[in-house]
């Protein structure tokens, strides 16, 4: 009896070791490498794509097409749902994929993106300074120290939202396109007033961040109305912005107990395609404490969820994860 038990324990140990080895193997080629390879391969398939490293400023990435820069607004209406977290992670993720990316903080007066991205001590000039002509765009852009191709344009902390106007914002976005940025991520302030409308005005794509909660869903619905009416695309009669839903702070366990709106519920209510589901996690707070976007710590579920979002955003279909409660083994629960 005893012998058999010992044998069993030994084999379990061996199994665990093997699992660890496999885990290490997987992380020898980290996820970010894979993401970059994927994006490169995809670019090569597009005819005549010139990556930004081999491009002179102002040269289009694809010949014959004036600009392939994409302006993406991250918006929600309601505050505190994860716009800034999402902006930081999406910008970081797209930069990891090798795209030249800038994240602009539109929350004038209450800037936070610089803090979440961990570059608050390097802010000298801001967005409003550039609009007013008090500084050059180059002086205000902060280059990320961890990831190449990633830049932050901080908001002003001292002025109010009226400092932004369509003409000024348009000028800066054009200039960023001229500088060869592939993606311009606009982090919208909460609300539906001037600041939020400025953030969405020039957008080509929108990520609508929503929590599975009544007030957030209602506000998102409201924002969808604004995206369809109060943007330059809507006013020029151009093809409309395609909004994507990002459901954040999702708790599969609560959904299972019937205490939280499910993904299906929110999708049915809002009627826009799902970009991803980000599970509720301590990792988000921990990453903002450190000023390191969560996507950089690939061991967390939040990072995995955001990586999926990046793949989908760059055009790869991926199965949705973190929607159902994960089954944890007895040992997992003991040691996890």
């Amino acid at each position: 009896m005893k012998k058999r038990l010992r044998k069993k324990l030994l084999s379990q140990e061996r199994q665990q070791e093997r699992q660890q080895e496999r885990h290490q193997e997987r992380h020898q080629q980290p996820d970010r490498e894979r993401l970059k390879n994927f994006a490169n391969e995809r670019d090569q398939r597009v005819n005549g794509f010139v990556s930004h490293e081999n491009r002179t400023p102002g040269q289009p990435a694809v010949k014959g097409r004036p600009s392939v820069s994409k302006v993406v607004v991250v918006t929600s209406g309601k505050g505190g749902v994860g716009k800034t977290t999402t902006s930081a992670n999406v910008a970081t993720g797209i930069a990891l994929a090798g795209k030249k990316t800038v994240a602009i903080d539109f929350d004038v007066g209450l800037r936070n993106l610089d803090l979440v991205m961990g570059c608050e001590r390097r802010v000298v000039y801001d967005f409003v300074n550039v609009i007013r002509g008090e500084a050059k765009l180059n002086q205000a852009l902060i280059r990320d120290k961890r990831i190449e191709n990633l830049y932050v344009l901080p908001a002003s902390q001292t002025r109010d939202k009226d400092a932004l106007d369509t003409e000024g914002v348009g000028r800066i976005i054009d200039e960023l396109k001229q500088m060869g940025f592939d993606y311009i991520i606009c982090d919208s302030p909460a609300g539906i007033e001037r600041g939020a409308q400025m953030a969405m005005y020039y957008a080509d794509d929108a990520i609508v961040v929503t929590n599975p909660e009544v007030s957030s869903v209602r506000d998102s619905d409201r924002v969808l109305g604004l995206l369809a009416a109060k943007t330059s695309r809507a006013q020029a009669g151009a093809p409309p912005i395609h909004p994507h839903l990002l459901l954040t702070r999702y708790s599969p366990a609560m959904v299972k107990r019937g205490e939280m709106l499910s993904v299906a519920d929110v999708l049915e209510l809002l009627g826009i395609p799902l970009l991803g589901v980000i599970p509720e996690s301590k990792a988000v707070l921990q990453s903002s404490n450190k000023g390191t976007p969560a996507i950089l710590d690939e061991t967390t579920d939040v990072a995995q969820a955001y990586l999926d979002v990046i793949y989908r955003f760059l055009g790869q279909e991926r199965e949705h994860r973190f929607i159902d409660e994960e089954r944890r083994s007895f040992f997992g629960r003991l040691f996890g």
């Binding site: 909660e213 009544v214 409201r222 019937g258 939280m260 709106l261 209510l269």
Partner: protein
Amino acid sequence: MKFLDYFRRPPKSASLAKDRLSIIVAREHTGGRKTPDYLPQLQQELLAVLARYEVIDLANVTVNVERNGDCEVLELNVTLPDGSSVIGAKRAQAATA
């Protein structure tokens, strides 16, 4: 029959949330244009004109927009202070574009 309640499950809060939201969302979508936001101002200005001829209270002037199918009806109701006589239920019909 208290013990039977034990077996009957209370409605889950998530489904309540969904029901409430679907009403709100449906209303905002089918409603399309909501009531015009000049109504309070219209009410004030009407009151200013009426006050030249009658002593009247803001509470006695009501302005409403109703919708019957394709037709929008702007309804003004002014109640005179000396009784329940309604001088005018002026109805201006405006067909929607």
